[in-house]
Symmetry: D2
Subunit: 425 residues, 4 copies
Amino acid sequence: MPENKGRVLLAYSGGLDTSCILAWLIEEGYEVYAFMADVGQEEDYAAAEKKALKVGAKKFFLADLKREFVTELIYPAVQANCIYENVYLLGTSLARPVIARGMIEVADKEGCDYVSHGCTGKGNDQVRFELAFYGLKPDIKVIAPWRIPEFYNRFAGRQALLQYAAEQNIPVQQTVAKPWSTDENLFHISYEAGILEDPNVTPPNDMWKLTTAPEDAPTSPERIILEFQNGLPTKVIVPEQQKEYTDAVEIFSALNTLARKHGIGRIDIVENRFIGVKSRGCYESPGATILRVAHMDLEGLTLDRNVRALRDQFTTIALSRILYNGHYFSPEREFVTSSIPSSQRTVNGIVRLKLYKGNTIVEGRESSEGLYDAAQSSMDELGGFEPTDTTGFISIESIRLKKWAQSKAAKGQSGVTAKDVYGSS
Amino acid sequence: MPENKGRVLLAYSGGLDTSCILAWLIEEGYEVYAFMADVGQEEDYAAAEKKALKVGAKKFFLADLKREFVTELIYPAVQANCIYENVYLLGTSLARPVIARGMIEVADKEGCDYVSHGCTGKGNDQVRFELAFYGLKPDIKVIAPWRIPEFYNRFAGRQALLQYAAEQNIPVQQTVAKPWSTDENLFHISYEAGILEDPNVTPPNDMWKLTTAPEDAPTSPERIILEFQNGLPTKVIVPEQQKEYTDAVEIFSALNTLARKHGIGRIDIVENRFIGVKSRGCYESPGATILRVAHMDLEGLTLDRNVRALRDQFTTIALSRILYNGHYFSPEREFVTSSIPSSQRTVNGIVRLKLYKGNTIVEGRESSEGLYDAAQSSMDELGGFEPTDTTGFISIESIRLKKWAQSKAAKGQSGVTAKDVYGSS
Amino acid sequence: MPENKGRVLLAYSGGLDTSCILAWLIEEGYEVYAFMADVGQEEDYAAAEKKALKVGAKKFFLADLKREFVTELIYPAVQANCIYENVYLLGTSLARPVIARGMIEVADKEGCDYVSHGCTGKGNDQVRFELAFYGLKPDIKVIAPWRIPEFYNRFAGRQALLQYAAEQNIPVQQTVAKPWSTDENLFHISYEAGILEDPNVTPPNDMWKLTTAPEDAPTSPERIILEFQNGLPTKVIVPEQQKEYTDAVEIFSALNTLARKHGIGRIDIVENRFIGVKSRGCYESPGATILRVAHMDLEGLTLDRNVRALRDQFTTIALSRILYNGHYFSPEREFVTSSIPSSQRTVNGIVRLKLYKGNTIVEGRESSEGLYDAAQSSMDELGGFEPTDTTGFISIESIRLKKWAQSKAAKGQSGVTAKDVYGSS
Amino acid sequence: MPENKGRVLLAYSGGLDTSCILAWLIEEGYEVYAFMADVGQEEDYAAAEKKALKVGAKKFFLADLKREFVTELIYPAVQANCIYENVYLLGTSLARPVIARGMIEVADKEGCDYVSHGCTGKGNDQVRFELAFYGLKPDIKVIAPWRIPEFYNRFAGRQALLQYAAEQNIPVQQTVAKPWSTDENLFHISYEAGILEDPNVTPPNDMWKLTTAPEDAPTSPERIILEFQNGLPTKVIVPEQQKEYTDAVEIFSALNTLARKHGIGRIDIVENRFIGVKSRGCYESPGATILRVAHMDLEGLTLDRNVRALRDQFTTIALSRILYNGHYFSPEREFVTSSIPSSQRTVNGIVRLKLYKGNTIVEGRESSEGLYDAAQSSMDELGGFEPTDTTGFISIESIRLKKWAQSKAAKGQSGVTAKDVYGSS
């Protein structure tokens, strides 16, 4: 009988790794409570609960965090068009803070001395979890078995885990693991490791779980309409279904269903992890991809140019990096997000989209904001515009450039060099 | 017989507008030389030359600027992943500087006192042309008829132009104009004005010129391979054709042909012009779209994380804005582009792509640069990695966040609020 | 008797220029109301009122805008450490928006069709005034006589103005102008033009108005204490005077008096105007200089590193440029300032300063915020710090750099070259 | 007799810490070579060499790195106006890369398996040294005794070191240490730790070593002239001495001497270390402070506005952070510095300075670059400027703001609120 080292709240997934960790923590002398978060992943929560208790968890907690995941994490990221390294929509990064907060809440209430997780020692998620824990409860203690030599040396390789599971009577569903790892939630699924570690290996067709292959998607396009208020989706109209969705979680689910059907939202990249290692990841972010296209398009119609430029260069980039690196519970995240509402006040209107075999095509957009003025931009009428004003504008804009060109010319530096020009007269 | 006011070099397109401007300039007392640039647009140059001389141009110049367009303008933009407002690949912006330089060169050689163009007074291109003129030759004088009241009041509307053309014996091919304006070059075609001024009008199918509609594209995907050296495309392999392209202009043309076939590169946006007016534009940038996807993907494999982040936030954004606003011949453009080579030294390797109905899908990538290390990133082996190091890393990273959280807690501000958590034991 | 062209509200200074403009506007057929703003400049307002009415103004308005100048304009600039081109504290830029708003308010109430000002056609202030007018009341009409050829050609040179003043019975106090122009308010005074146009001319001693020369300042230093809450000064303690100041306007005035005495706040620069012209300006910003030193110092003690870095690169630079270019009443200004409060929540505490002959020297600072931890940073005790953590931190930080160095070495590129090293053994 | 664990190159200072480390490394079984860098600090190198060899070093190396310190490290930082957190000129950060490179060069030549240093486990310098080592020679092994528990636990506190020194026959000059730590080089000296750990303690007068107190500086100002080419100082003229300095190292020394005399270059701050700990530091950067003032001033006269703005926001900030955090040997440093030459091509001319009791006052500047044009900026003449152009410029600039204001008005949001305005008529 081991000594009682204290109470641990373990982020439990129901899989082989965290089940073994659960057993090992008990073996090490801890009392273990198991915690699962429902952030929209497909999961047999009842089976997981049963399994956790069977393996030895004293208590099991299931937190439905879908709504706060959507409204607190996903929404600001949508408003700010967050993206990491031009491609990755941050699906896993967005879920970690709500899960970590859910855990700290239970750990607080239940008097847990420790929190624990099954993340590997090379990835981003350990960092995201732990920085979130510390940012919420700076005196919490963390047990990360995959960074503890006694654990990772003992359980090097899946065989060692399977053997331990057998010894501990831990039920195992698959003795052969999929040749990649996944993380799934309402926003996306990620695939990494295993055969994907060769960046030149094309992911097999049967890997992709949340979307139809574009080749297998319907041969007819489907039209939908998205409505935004303050940069947030407030309605999805799906004429084919004769349906409208207005609830935040339902909007997301509906967009996921539509994108899944039409093969939208797959990416395959090599990214740079926070710890400085390059890593290959494949992701499906179905509904989020549609939402991003629509939101950015509506901003074209409704957002002031200079606000957009400043937001793109700072808010978008800063918030994306903060989310990726796990700095959600930080003063800089509060600072960066504090400016988002001001940027989205005018982002009101609708966007009409065509979904077709991997493509999200904007077919039109409309708003009553009034920043777009067809008469003003028209090439067919003056619309109150004085063309002579532009002459003054260009003249002033050229002052600085002329001075520079004169200065270069005075030094004998010319911008013009001989080109192939053929003349006739 | 009007007085001789001097010699004008006119940017001539062969169309109704610039033909009327040509005639009007002569009427106003100028001697006019006509200038056309071949930047890859589909054009009957011989017919245009004939027409210009017939209308009264004293000389006609045709400059083949395709190669310098590709190597001097497009290439740095590809290396820097330039994009305006997240969507527009800057096709027109990229061509203006080489055209303007071609004109200044001819104006210099031929002793022209003026340069002239047919751009409207509300658009970006007048600014791009004129700032380029002034940045190359600060004492050049510019005649912009669409900003001269005597001109734009006299020729308000197409009918007035048609009537003037009839009077001046200017041959007119289409008495009914297309309900939009276009600008075409090797990189792209743009559509704006006319029916597109309502941002909620879906562009008609027959507008799109450079690409097949995704719906009409082949039902089978096609695979190609792109090779890059220092971030520039050096080879396109098209297995279906059993062909390879290695010349800069041919690479671009080959990618255009492939993208056209597979319906790749259409966009439809509302953008913010330099003069502060919102404007709706549709664009086809076929080959450029493929190139962008491939280049960004290879950067994932081969570019250092911090270089990428700095380049994205600084070079990409600054250069895109400089190009869009017509500041190519400026000290800030020289400053910004001077850092590009250093950012692309490691961007060497190949990218394998699948083209299918509007989609450019990365299927794999390879490089000998060695910044990606499968063993290091592997979840299955340590690969020289010490997991305990990450504990130290997280510990140091959390110092600042813990202090902040303690400070908040001392003020009674908690980051954790009640959530829906259901527990069992 | 001229026709009645409408009612104009004129920004009136009481000087020769705006008095002549007043008379000229009447001559041109306008009914003129005169407007003066008290933003803390030294001025005989009663005399100016009398003069305006004598010259022919139908009404005279004096708006005391000192408090809103301090609390609405200066305070956010202090919180964000605003500065233009590393040196200029933006004193004139900060005053223009409150003056413009005061004018629009009166123009609205009094049914004025126009606003007018006496700014020259080459400067920043015309832009700042007019963009503020348009941002507040987009349909206001502006009369800028110094940009109207009939005016500026007629009144080219001071002699023409003096002659007109004589004709119009406008009282003139100085027939010989100072050889520079000034703009003064509670925050600063600017000097430009005249003899200062040669950037190599040292400003004469008698030009400086708001500060003692450092050479003439007291030979003994003086100590003061500044207290901040949320990044704003809430108290100035002046032990020598046995006084404390807590009112916003009084704090500013007290700091001005102290800085004046000790020769603090002079600068002399060549700056870049919004219109692209380089211009030489000298400025005295006495109290503002002390405030800036103290605020930045306290941020060192109390502001999170990452918030500070993001704020410096984004908020400070963006807001400074917005203010300088006259974009105060704009969506981007609202966007940028919306993030300031979040950045200043922890900037609470006191700073102890020594003022001495042009120097503002920090002698110490204190705060109860708790982000600084003497034990943690101590070199003499561990203070809960695990030095081994840093080993992990450095190890992780070096992953990326080692990969890069290996990649360079594989290409035969070495970072080490021969240096002069002498060895003994 | 301990086993031979290999050869170590130790960064040796001659002080108590590194002498004890030298002895301890020998005790631990290493063969130790001692390395000293001359980066301009005041030091008895001969005594240090003698001491190192006496304590047991097998070889001693002295590298004179002053010139490369100035030309390779300091110069780009001067050109880019590098500064950390608005105040710190990076003196220590700049020296570390050249010292580390000197060590790696010797380690390479002499076949050392390890490098070692005496930096503490909480500071920046350990990170700067080690990241530099790894960036130059990724397989080098580092021994950092102050992060090795057996060392830091054994030698906790100065007494333990003194006792060990006595046991090991290590000569000790001061048995009572100064109540702060210092790091000195040609650029600056830093003071931290000890009594300075209370940020509210005013540094004692006798701490400051490189500068006279402003109170004690001469009562008469001294004028000097600095000449720059491409943003680098090429000549210092000191009329009082009837001397000119043109050699890079001599220029720096001369400026140090002048600044020392006139009390220029002291700062006292709380800064944020790379590891996230706040730390109080005092610094004297005498010559560097003069150089910075002069360089920035000349940029006002000679550098294009947009280049300056981009450089300030990116190059300056990025390079300062890179230097501070010890990322000098990195791809991002190469990227960032690659753009500096392009930014400095026009920074040619002279600056006239007055030095007086802590103040560096610009009295004038001159350049033949021609970007400044007195006639153009003049308020007294048009100088080729058309004031009507500005009307067009403002009109175009206001388009966007008017639209925004109209949009706000349409929603019933007004920018104007009631203020205290008193009117008379």
